[in-house]
Symmetry: C2
Subunit: 256 residues, 2 copies
């Protein structure tokens, strides 16, 4: 498969897994196997983007909902909106604060600092609703682990981004966001560089890690069994990066 990437062009290459990820599985092994099957391979300059679900599963972040005892408050609120009170209770346990609880929507700040619905807990396609899937405990660490394992297996060191789909204030629909990063800077800061007119660009800090996550959302999906993709051709800023660079401190946030 000698395929070249034209300068300036970016390719989004989905990675389709043959089977389910189970607790204890090596994500790096599964991805490298999947690439080999489709006669692709990781190349220097690539970025790997992975949906968090397979990472959470591999890390055993599963909770048997039968073990969760909801409070009276969670039960009352869940009943009002026909929700599973155990999921609400678990979402509260996984949060450091509640941002909004209204109209059946619970927006929390997770222990990591993510602002999202139900602390990012997923129950839709795990075990028919008996088991909840939590976000990875430390998604930056998860990304670094996958990066290291891929290097060991392929000799190639690539940035890794872990994503989840979140709703947004003001806009309808979900998009993918970066929740863990290793090996690249999540923000591209063009301030001080000149544009094609010779003017110095003003406030142009671009959240490239979130743009990479969104781009990956176009080719990754539940329906096509592609929980990861390679982004090829994007000139990232190497260097240490953490998802915390993307999280606006509460003190400077006008919308909390």
């Amino acid at each position: 498969m000698a395929k070249t990437t034209k300068v300036g062009e970016v390719r989004l290459i989905p990675i389709t897994l043959a089977d389910e990820i189970v607790p204890g599985a090596s994500i790096a092994d599964k991805l490298v196997e999947a690439l080999r099957r489709s006669r692709q391979r990781l190349r220097p300059g690539d970025i790997l983007v992975v949906k968090h679900k397979i990472v959470s599963k591999a890390e055993g972040r599963l909770v048997d909902l039968a073990t969760i005892k909801p409070s009276a408050e969670s039960t009352a609120w869940a009943e009002q909106y026909k929700l599973d009170a155990r999921v609400i209770e678990l979402a509260l346990q996984e949060s450091r604060s509640v941002l909004r609880r209204k109209n059946g929507v619970l927006i929390t700040e997770t222990h990591h600092g993510f602002l999202c619905a139900n602390s990012g807990i997923d129950v839709s396609n795990v075990d028919g609703g008996k088991t909840a899937l939590l976000l990875p405990e430390d998604p930056d660490r998860s990304a670094a682990n996958i990066r290291r394992a891929l290097k060991k297996k392929t000799g190639i060191l690539v940035p890794v981004i872990i994503t989840d789909s979140f709703g947004r204030p003001w806009r309808e629909g979900l998009t993918e966001f970066a929740i863990g990063i290793a090996g690249m800077k999540p923000l591209r800061d063009d301030r001080g560089r000149s544009d094609s007119h010779g003017y110095t660009l003003k406030a142009s800090v671009e959240a490239v890690a979130d743009e990479l996550a969104s781009a990956a959302g176009l080719v990754c999906g539940k329906l096509n069994r592609a929980p990861a993709c390679i982004v090829r051709g994007f000139l990232y800023d190497p260097g240490p990066g953490t998802v915390h660079n993307l999280l606006r401190p509460a003190a400077t946030d006008l919308f909390r």
Copy 2:
């Protein structure tokens, strides 16, 4: 340039313009010329994504700031934060309401219904700060016009998305958002479809137009003079679509 796109793979192909867009220019003509120069061409199934700036310029959405007389309130607030009072005044004129005015940041709801800083007005690289660039008056119509002109010129009918870079609550950095759409549905609704387990997917309405905008942000930029790109290989839902499908009504928005 016989280059194939592997099934499932998406390509982001930047379109680099040779010269500046001036009021009255045909965006479709300029893009087709640019593609021809780089020995590319539009193909059925492609999506065209265009940054709004060249659209606004072509549509003559330029305002001489010398003609703007700021109110005493705008002047006082601008002085406090070392801003241009005329830009603040113009942003207020371009808005239907003010969401936040704090710490030198002005977040408005534009006449179109977009929630963004300074009503999306841009002064950074136009004419050394003497001229402001407004958003297109009706970006859906702008997108439809470009789509129609491209069809006339190339025989190929493609969806067109117009974008702008907005900040987000809770997250640092800007990303590209869709502000005008023609020829595709901006939301992909997977509710009711089955995933690979046979479970019915729950809330999975994906804002694909915003994900396409973000993906385009990876290859379009001021520094490389590429204000547009082709997205090739993405299976969009054809049919009528408007950016208003992406705008959450104030009544159901928990963050206004």
